[in-house]
Symmetry: C2
Subunit: 412 residues, 2 copies
């Protein structure tokens, strides 16, 4: 690809079938928001929909809304919508809890399946909470052991001791995408389960859980799905495992008859047994708004555009990267990456602060990563072009050397 | 107390210092809502406050609101507000996850403290999710054992095998209140921890966790606290235990440095280690609205009014109870009960449906319990009087025999 001009970017936007979706989001004028992979933008329809749930369903319907507004069915109803984006059957996905809690449920279930298999296999630098949750299981006294192996040697490390291979499909920092089908097959071949964290994939890249032979998965509701800050997470259990695995978090919503108020726990059939406590109704509603909007689009067009946005951004930065000590961390090959692009820079923190001050919001990941997320539903080719150009100006003019950009922020 | 008249009820309302709070809630005209112990009513201030969080903090502030709007500090900030209602220090309470998930964290932490103690002691008929979560731990392979003993023999059952005594302070069905100080002391005397479920207590009756010598507690945000459907729950760990106990759910928000993105888990000091995943920001906001409203009231006046409402209701129903086969399940002595009143009736389901059809909303708990919750912030003495009168009419005229009230509803 040759270095794109602003006119090239605008021509691509004019031809983009997804272009009308940008107007469906609230985004501050002039802001180039490339952090939708951390917190998705607000769909314009969400505030009114939420207000209706609050005023009518909660305020007027009160307790009766559990039935009348089908609050009780939200985990399955919204799970079925997510299933369409991750290549699963409707009854294989539910919305519940946080990604961390869902990881715990599925890791513990995988360990309980075969007492002879005690290893959780993952890679160093996986998303922290994934590793931390596995370490919590290590300390629990069940003999579980987290084994970290570099991705190049992952297949070799799969053996009869492995209970579960836990990987993040698209790496939160590098953006590198694992080959889900190949690694799931390797796990299956040694009798281990595969557990995929789809937090940086869902709504950003194509995912085919059933088609890949994946066993288990979790994912996040507040990134590309635009479900709002702290939106509930989801989990997937392939149909063939649902009645063979048990959640350790046996709350009442996972009971076969939650409102019988029996003293004894009996797991619900199917995916429902992986529910635990009372669902967060209001954030279920905002997650559903985000999903309904995304499901109006053609997923194939969505994912193709995400790849094209990343391609253009990489090409536009490439022309000045070497001269400014920027090193591309993300794979150049579209099929090997997610929908975000990361560059390494020794002063990455200050550079990102300077960019934010110029109205280009990406984020920084320690120790030296500049990360730019491209949400194909609302980001434009002009966004990608302008972000690259602003990055060039920040570097060429040394704007990031301003002392106000030196202090580390609390949350990035 | 003599049988109250409507004029008596109105006189009590006129003298009630909390009376102005009723106008601060959205409640449908003519509805007598006595189910605030299941789902609290909507404070009038909540929709606008939530809309501001959605449109301004999420929509305009985007990712920056984690710092700028202090989303990241919500679990501790709101926990400190709950602490004022449960007799705890600000740094002993955080808001997180669901009651069920928090029970799991604290039960597992208590079991991990001493490998020689494997018993979770509780009572039959405790709230189902409490028993189910303990049963999940039983199945986990740690040798944990749930032992259920009737409350009259609880003190005798406390011995050196008990890791934790897990009780619900106010029973969800009967409304009976345990003596927290006496039972916590009994647990301490045998070296066990006490864990109190405050779901039916917080905001309804006085709770003095520190003063009672309680060790651990959990509670619900969507009942008397009026935090909205599926509001996040809270947990309490007495300061003396915070650095000695470890949560099994070691998500990134419980890490000493969540944004360092280290591979190794290090628990945060203090109560923060009991956090797990990303907090549900929007439902944190609605919970905070409910709390801020409650904290405008004098807690002593609040709890005294709750007792007086229950007293009046019991007295008003007493005059016809025996003649209509109603049996009072709740203790008559105010200090031995919560802020709800339950009556047993063989056709309780149909009777409650008939009451709801008349605009008196309580709830039914299988197999035969009519339950009426009195939320002192918005329920009036006239509510209590009218509810008793309507119950009398439904029974005296046999309205509950209408076939449309016969079918069991899905959620109660």
């Amino acid at each position: 690809m040759t270095v794109p001009s602003l006119a090239d970017a605008r021509a691509l936007d004019a031809a983009d079938p997804l272009r009308p979706f940008r107007a469906r989001f609230e985004l501050p004028d002039g802001l180039i928001y490339l952090d939708g992979n951390s917190l998705g933008a607000l769909p314009k329809a969400t505030p009114a929909a939420l207000d209706r749930v609050v005023r009518e369903e909660w305020g007027r319907g009160l307790i009766g809304s559990w039935n009348a507004a089908d609050w009780i069915g939200a985990p399955q109803r919204i799970g079925a919508k997510i299933a369409r984006l991750v290549g699963a059957e409707a009854h294989e996905v539910v919305v519940a809890d946080s990604t961390s809690v869902n990881l715990f449920k599925l890791l513990a279930a995988a360990l309980a399946r075969d007492p002879a298999r005690r290893v959780i296999l993952s890679e160093p630098g996986n998303f922290p909470t994934d590793l931390y949750v596995a370490q919590g299981l290590e300390r629990l006294g069940l003999g579980a052991r987290l084994k970290l192996v570099e991705r190049e040697r992952m297949a070799d490390a799969l053996d009869g001791e492995v209970a579960v291979l836990m990987l993040t499909h698209v790496h939160y920092k590098s953006g590198a995408r694992h080959d889900m089908a190949a690694l799931s097959a390797e796990a299956t071949a040694v009798g281990a389960l595969s557990l995929w964290d789809l937090s940086h994939s869902t709504g950003g890249v194509p995912v085919e859980l059933d088609g890949s032979g994946a066993d288990l998965a979790v994912g996040c509701g507040y990134k590309y799905l635009n479900g709002g800050p702290g939106a509930p997470a989801f989990l997937y259990v392939a149909e063939r495992w649902q009645d063979l695995l048990a959640s350790p978090l046996t709350g009442w919503m996972g009971h076969a008859a939650p409102f019988a108020f029996d003293d004894g726990y009996r797991p619900a059939p199917g995916i429902d047994r992986f529910l635990c406590g009372t669902p967060p109704v209001l954030q279920m509603a905002t997650l559903e708004c985000g999903l309904d909007l995304m499901l109006e689009s053609d997923p194939a067009a969505l994912f193709a555009k995400g790849q094209a946005l990343c391609d253009m951004f990489i090409t536009a930065v490439d022309r000045f990267a070497a001269g400014h000590s920027l090193e591309l961390v993300t794979p150049r090959e579209a099929l090997r990456r997610g929908s975000h692009v990361s560059w390494r820079h020794a002063d990455g923190y200050a550079v990102m602060q300077a960019l934010i001050a110029e109205g280009v919001v990406g984020d920084f990941r320690a120790p030296d990563i500049l990360r730019f997320g491209f949400a194909p539903l609302y980001n434009s080719f002009e966004d990608a072009w302008r972000a690259a150009n602003t990055l060039h100006a920040v570097l060429a003019e040394g704007r990031w050397r301003d002392p106000r950009f030196a202090a580390r922020q609390r949350v990035t």
